[in-house]
């Protein structure tokens, strides 16, 4: 116990004493770790799982939607804008350049970005669940 004297107090009023514990740095052990919540399928465990699924599903859905728009839009684009056929990329007509070449690196880049984000989501989940 340490005493912190307050200046200017009248001596008949009891001093206020500040109590501190020397073990301020001790960690509090979680009594119910999140991993156990998930194992026992409690409401809280379900919430954790639900959030993981939702995050990953949203990412997957996002990638699929972009893919669907690009892939689904291309035939229509070529149909509705005939002038695109005249555009040439390195001497190759645009439809051929896109479908025969450029789309493959686009797939790989998209895939790489997805893998990075999905792994990040999993790391966050692991941190969330192991910490508490």
């Amino acid at each position: 116990m340490s005493q912190v004297p307050r200046p200017g107090r009248r001596s008949d009023v009891p001093r206020r004493v500040t109590v501190t514990s020397p073990r301020t740095a001790a960690a509090r052990r979680p009594r119910y770790p999140a991993l156990r919540e998930i194992d026992e399928q409690t409401r809280l465990g379900e919430v954790y799982m639900h959030s993981l699924l939702r995050t990953q599903f949203r990412l997957a859905l996002f990638v699929c939607t972009v893919l669907a728009c690009v892939i689904g839009g291309l035939p229509l684009l070529f149909l509705l804008l005939p002038d695109l056929r005249e555009v040439h990329v390195l001497g190759v007509p645009l439809p051929w350049a896109v479908l025969g070449g450029l789309i493959y690196p686009a797939f790989v880049i998209g895939a790489w970005l997805y893998v990075r984000q999905a792994e990040r989501n999993e790391r966050h989940f692991a941190e969330l669940v192991e910490r508490r």
Binding site: M49, F78, W96, L99, Y104, Y114
Partner: protein
């Protein structure tokens, strides 16, 4: 010389496969290459297995015949892996399933669903195998003039011997080698062909072709827009439902590696698919008489170059073609035989051997009896069946907790059944004309939505049939392996 090349490839496949005999003693070695395979090897093996005769020969033939619209086939076959990566790869690996029926049983805890899945695997696999044997016969006839049944029989025998002796482990090395062989077999002659084209003054396609063949949807196919979209749907969604694709996932150590391997596969496939397009385009200019055949890749070197160099290049390309037949047929045979052995026979190494013979003999018989359709078209039909049955099962099974057993069954029956019926009509009756013909030749645009709708609707109607272990299964499928969680004690059937 080409015949020599063919024999060399076959011999090499058998020899490399023979080294696998030493390693495959137990059943699990037999089915799955015990996960000591590095990612690049695995990705090469996946690519090697995936690139069938349809990719090697069929695409170029179709592009020559029908123009730029056919480019959607290779785009779809590659994009299908992207869809697989995003929707299915890591959870599927984490499920621990060796095969699609394994996954069906693990997720839905029902033997009926498992058996239905097995039947569909056999159907899809058979549908994919048949055109490989047909194509082999046609290639051999083109090169040597031998009757059509010889090529098919030859490939069937080599595949059976390879699979019977080595199982999965040896197949992995063979497949990996064959990817690089196929890539080389297309790339090297192409260099010479392009040089010859340049020497010719770099001609372009004829003016008439520039209007119809070279422009999207400018060709002679009626209902082109519908067919294009249906093809896109079938190829993008069907990849995940192919029997020989899932088996390769298990050779990854965990879900994360499964994703990364798929990324490498995408790159390898993309690199390969740049090539057949150029063959088709060159063929349109130099060999326009080859319309509606699959032989442009084989005959172009001889036509454009000729002489000894032309012979050598033809031999190389033929070797690549046979590598394509062997690799895909082996992969398919292993998966189909695996499913037959586990679910229709007793299981174990002996059943697997009997199943291998069955898995090879029936498609071979069909190949010899049925008429010859373009190989890429028949393969496309296999994709349509896979997209209408296994795609809904996998996507809903992995992401939707309320999928019920009855719903899954209903979706498999309706989607798979409708697609199979359309396929049967198309193959037996031949390509019909008019709207009905277009709908049947490319059924995915209507069978896939119907399958999804049925699965979802019936699941809503039967909420009491949701599998009781769904929550635990979701933990198994989605949580990273390094977390110490209870993932249930389901184990796959095979040993």
């Amino acid at each position: 010389m080409s015949l020599t090349a063919v024999l060399v490839v076959m011999l090499a496949a058998v020899l490399i496969g023979a080294f696998g005999i030493r390693f495959s003693r137990t059943t699990s070695d037999f089915y799955v290459a015990s996960r000591t395979v590095s990612p690049l090897w695995n990705a090469s093996a996946i690519g090697g297995e995936y690139l069938s005769a349809a990719s090697f020969l069929g695409i170029a033939g179709l592009i020559l015949s029908f123009g730029v619209d056919m480019l959607w086939l290779p785009v779809g076959w590659t994009g299908g892996y992207l869809v697989l990566l995003v929707l299915v790869s890591a959870p599927l690996r984490r499920s621990g399933a060796y095969t699609l029926p394994d996954f069906a049983e693990a997720r839905l805890e029902s033997m009926t669903v498992r058996r239905t899945a097995s039947v569909l695997v056999v159907l899809i696999g058979g549908l994919y195998l048949m055109p490989q044997f047909q194509s082999a016969g046609l290639v051999l006839r083109t090169i040597t003039g031998a009757p059509v049944w010889v090529g098919g029989l030859l490939v069937a025998v080599v595949v059976a011997v390879n699979v019977l002796s080595g199982g999965m482990r040896s197949i992995t090395f063979v497949q990996a080698f064959q990817y690089w062989l196929k890539l080389t077999a297309l790339a090297v002659p192409l260099v010479f062909l392009l040089l010859a084209w340049r020497a010719d003054g770099a001609p372009a396609v004829s003016a008439a072709d520039a209007l119809t063949w070279q422009t999207p949807l400018g060709g002679v196919r009626e209902y082109g827009l519908y067919s294009t979209y249906s093809l896109i749907l079938a190829t993008f969604l069907g990849t995940m439902g192919l029997p020989h694709v899932l088996v390769r996932f298990y050779t990854n150590p965990d879900g994360r590696a499964a994703r990364r391997t798929t990324l490498v596969v995408l790159s390898l496939l993309g690199a390969f698919y740049l090539l057949p397009t150029v063959y088709g385009w060159l063929g349109r200019m130099y060999a326009p008489d080859l319309v509606r055949t699959d032989t442009v890749v084989l005959t172009l070197p001889a036509r454009m170059i000729g002489g000894t160099l032309g012979d050598l290049l033809t031999a190389l390309v033929t070797a690549g073609a046979f590598a394509a037949f062997l690799s895909t047929s082996s992969g398919l045979t292993v998966s189909v035989a695996g499913v037959i052995a586990q679910d229709l026979l007793k299981g174990g190494v002996r059943s697997f051997r009997i199943a291998t013979l069955m898995a090879v003999a029936v498609p071979l018989a069909l190949a010899l009896w049925a008429r010859a359709l373009p190989v890429a078209d028949v393969v496309g039909l296999a994709f349509a069946v896979a997209a209408s049955s296994f795609c809904p099962l996998l996507v809903l099974g992995i992401w939707w907790r309320r999928l019920s057993t009855t719903g899954a069954l209903a979706g498999l029956f309706v989607g798979g059944g409708l697609a199979c019926a359309a396929v049967l009509v198309t193959i037996v009756g031949g390509p019909a004309s008019g709207l009905a013909g277009a709908l049947l030749a490319q059924p995915a645009a209507w069978t896939v939505p119907i399958a999804f709708a049925v699965m979802v609707a019936v699941s809503f109607l039967t909420p009491h049939r949701v599998p009781p272990g769904t929550a635990r299964t979701m933990v198994r499928l989605h949580t990273p392996e390094n977390l110490d969680l209870d993932r249930g004690d389901w184990r796959p059937r095979s040993s």
